[in-house]
């Protein structure tokens, strides 16, 4: 193998989300001489960002004073909060939990917000490279992280080099910041290699699906924020919805399912659609049209699942580390604060040593500690979960115990051990018709002649074992219809095989998380591939 070309920076940041951008901006604010670059696999900044999102503005006030005079597109103050318990046909208004009080907060498109932050970072001298995927980690001889390896471009599906082949370069830096977002594929490698999770619980996740709609005039009440729990979930499946009313007759709607669900036949994407077609919800959308759609895993483990966030030569920040506050359903302010804290730490210290302690001593961790028992309380079902949440809220998290988290893939029950509840799901009327139609609205594009980026270690397990034990749940938990079990024809007639429609992948990472055998490994495809979200 030839020697790869090398570029050198003082700091290389992997992933241009709110954490990475905030970190890079702060680094330059503290020391304009420091060279900083950000690598982003999406074809454009913000194109693979998907979030609710209602954000707390304080970190933005700290990072970009004056931002309120130059707001990101699609950013409006919250005017009204509502919290509902849904039944199949009706709803009950619940008191808004204090964590969900959004007075003073803003509804944003996080994608648009990142695209708005990026030029401000560039103005400070940060080099931002969208369309380039960090495919590997460069280790120094002493085993420490020394940078990243950019993925090769122009490799055919069979692994050969196409005429357009271009070898990826290496970016070397004394400090690499991983801000890949939830379940980053390099962060996953680092956590394993440096055993960063040896002193914490397993990480846990949810899968969020979201659509942005253009609705009929008059349906949107800009600034209104509504959350719901209940239908279509059974009481052993954690999840809930959000509906954020935007300006110009637009509404963002989404649904989050905890990936610790036990039912092997559960379909998170379908649950979202069922919710959307609830009689009280669908009236908002009738006669409207979908502008964009997508899905992304969110990190839910919080305080007790936070891995060690420093290692020689590198730091983990943002959702890649896992600083999201689940009861608030907010991770952006935490991610930005974490990014800024990392930058400030590097401003005062020669390297990343001590960052993890600084993080654990910071308000970021205090916030997580306070709510640490709320999400795991729902392991015992919705009602006990709500009672526990009430207790934890009243006591401000001062319970002397910390509830444990368990890995999501271990929560899935075998077909023979589980009786799926009667769901009574309805025939849907609103688009999209199916997951493929939804992928269409994600504007996902992958060069199709490239190696499959969803690596399944042993497909015999899929066909011979999983089919029997779990009924191939990958065909259901994937929101993009990537996985299919197809009947073989011709010579192999009667057999089955796993068909991986990798080109549909919206990079949500659910398969990597929920597969019960943990044989699916999500790696990055060619840079610039994947969803091209607009204003999600």
């Amino acid at each position: 193998m030839s020697e790869r070309e090398v570029m050198e920076y003082d700091v290389v940041v992997v992933g241009a989300g709110p954490a990475g951008l905030a970190c890079a901006i702060r680094l330059k604010q503290l020391d304009s001489e420091r060279s900083v670059c950000i690598i982003e696999k999406a074809s454009e900044i913000g194109a693979q960002i998907l979030s609710g999102a209602v954000i707390e503005p304080q970190p933005l006030d700290d990072l970009l004073p004056g931002w309120r005079d130059n707001m990101p597109p699609h950013c409006i103050p919250v005017t009204e909060d509502a919290f509902l318990m849904l039944g199949k046909t009706g709803s009950k208004k619940l008191p808004t939990p204090p964590q969900s009080n959004n007075h003073g907060n803003f509804i944003v498109s996080l994608g648009a917000m990142c695209a708005w932050m990026a030029p401000q970072a560039e103005d400070l001298g940060v080099d931002i490279f969208p369309g380039y995927a960090a495919a590997g980690i460069h280790y120094r001889q002493d085993g420490s992280v020394g940078g990243v390896i950019i993925g090769d471009m122009g490799i055919a599906a069979d692994g050969s080099q196409k005429s357009s082949y271009m070898e990826g370069i290496e970016i070397h830096a004394p400090m690499t910041i991983f801000s890949e977002g939830c379940r980053g594929h390099l962060s996953k490698q680092l956590i394993k290699k440096f055993d960063l999770d040896k002193d914490c619980d397993p990480q846990t996740y949810g899968i969020g699906t979201k659509e942005l709609w253009q609705v009929k005039p008059g349906k949107s009440q800009p600034g209104r924020v509504q959350h719901s729990i209940g239908w279509p979930m059974d009481s052993h499946t954690y999840g809930g919805s959000f509906i954020y009313h935007l300006e110009n007759d637009r509404i963002a709607i989404g649904f989050v399912t905890g990936l610790d669900y036990p039912d092997p036949n559960f379909q998170p994407w379908e649950a979202f659609q069922q919710f959307k077609n609830h009689p009280e919800i669908k009236t908002l959308f009738e006669g409207g049209e979908i502008l964009s759609a997508g899905a992304r895993a969110i990190v839910e483990g919080g305080y007790q699942s936070l891995p060690k966030t420093e290692m020689p030569g590198a730091l983990l920040i943002g959702d890649g580390a896992g600083t999201l506050n689940v009861p608030k359903i907010k991770g952006v302010h935490q991610a930005m604060r974490g990014g800024m804290l990392a930058a400030e730490h590097l401003g005062q210290h020669a390297d990343g040593k001590g960052y993890d302690k600084a993080l654990r001593d910071s308000p970021i961790m205090a916030e997580l500690k306070k709510v640490r028992n709320i999400r795991p309380g729902f392991h015992k079902g919705l009602w006990l979960g709500l009672i526990n949440a009430g207790w934890e809220t009243i006591t401000g998290g001062y319970s002397p115990w910390t509830l444990k988290n368990h890995a999501d893939h271990t929560a899935l029950k075998r077909l023979e051990d589980y009786q799926s509840p009667e769901r009574n799901w309805i025939d849907r009327e609103l688009p999209p018709r199916d997951r493929l139609a939804s992928v269409y609205f994600s504007t996902t594009a992958h060069e199709e002649d490239q190696p499959v980026h969803l690596q399944v270690a042993d497909t015999d397990i899929c066909i011979n074992q999983c089919t029997v034990e779990y009924g191939n749940p990958c065909t259901r938990f994937c929101p993009a219809h990537v996985y299919e079990i197809v009947e073989e024809d011709g010579e192999m007639e009667g057999g089955k095989r796993l068909q991986i429609n990798a080109a549909n992948c919206v990079h949500c990472k659910t398969c990597d998380i929920k597969d019960p055998y943990q044989i699916i490994n999500w790696v990055t495809p060619e840079g610039g591939s994947g969803p091209n979200y607009q204003n999600l």
Binding site: A437, Y440, A445, V486, G490, Q499, N501, A503
Partner: protein
């Protein structure tokens, strides 16, 4: 009253069907319709043009330089007689798209591309953004209208006419900077997928590379191009360049027949401008039936031979 000149597309001996489609658009524009034949010896082509219903006059200009089609040679000749006309139409084929903008520039006007419908003598509809939006375009008074006519939107005008043919001498100066070398028609028995009038396409329902031969056979019987869904490409039945859809080819044949294709929106995006869509699928719930003009639920393996027998 509009005076419309249509530039004939031909190969020296035969008039291309595109010309009769332009006549239909001219008829919708309303006005007297003339056809201009530029050729080395245009007698045969002019006679065919004179047969198209609605044509008032065919103007035939013969010159050795018009033996082959070169926009740089033809455009000045057309510009020279343009003053007599309010509209100059050509087909939106590679012939017309090469030639007409050159004519428009010589006349100092912008060209209206791909007319799909006529709203008035100076007002038209045309597609932009690959057909994802349709715009209304008007040409202000006083400007000669130079336009290309979208082939998929217009049926050919009928025959049965015998318009007058007048011969004229070439008057424009012919540039020498462009020289025609030759034409290679594309090999193979089947027409090119992108430009075929009929396309037969197969999906995962075919089940194997061998079974896909059924599609090729039917296509060769019908003189059709062959396409495939992404699922068929991914399954390895056919090569990548046969893929029709969002990430493959966007096509608009007169007839598109889909066998064993479920019709995901990604596929349908590639055929939304097809004239007639026929769907054959064993799954009556397949989304392809929502866009098909003619649907048939059943087993393609028995239906294909039955179709072949019935033609």
């Amino acid at each position: 009253m509009s005076k419309i000149l249509i530039i004939a597309e031909h190969n020296g001996t035969e008039l291309n069907n595109a010309t009769a489609k332009c006549v239909s658009c001219a008829a919708a524009t309303e006005g007297s319709i003339h056809i201009l034949v530029l050729a080395a010896d245009g007698a045969a082509v002019a006679a065919q043009a004179a047969g198209i219903a609605g044509v008032e006059e065919v103007i035939s200009i013969n010159h050795a330089n018009f033996a082959q089609v070169l926009a740089a040679t033809q455009a000045p000749e057309i510009a020279a007689i343009a003053a007599d006309y309010s509209h100059i139409y050509g087909p939106s084929s590679t012939f017309g798209r090469d030639l007409m903008p050159r004519v428009a520039a010589l006349l100092g006007v912008n060209q209206v591309a791909d007319i799909m419908s006529v709203k008035g003598p100076r007002s038209f509809q045309r597609p932009v953004y690959a057909g994802n939006a349709i715009i209304d375009v008007s040409v202000p008074e006083g400007m000669t209208i130079v336009a290309t006519i979208r082939m998929a939107s217009w049926a050919a005008a009928e025959g049965g006419n015998s318009a007058a043919v007048s011969k004229r001498e070439a008057s424009a100066e012919t540039p020498t900077h462009s020289r025609y070398i030759g034409l290679k028609t594309e090999g193979g028995d089947l027409p090119d997928l992108q430009s075929a009038n009929r396309v037969i396409a197969g999906g995962r329902g075919l089940g194997s590379e061998e079974n896909f031969q059924l599609i090729y056979q039917l296509a060769s019987k019908l003189g059709a191009g062959v396409g495939a869904s992404r699922a068929a490409v991914d399954a390895g039945y056919v090569p990548n360049d046969m893929q029709v859809g969002q990430t493959g080819k966007i096509i608009s044949p007169d007839l598109y027949m889909a066998f064993g294709i479920s019709g995901a929106i990604q596929h349908v995006t590639g055929i939304k401008d097809a004239g007639t869509i026929v769907a054959i699928n064993k799954d009556a719930e397949a989304p392809i039936f929502e866009v098909a003009d003619i649907g048939l639920v059943g087993d393609l393996f028995s239906i294909i031979p039955e179709i072949e027998a019935a033609i």
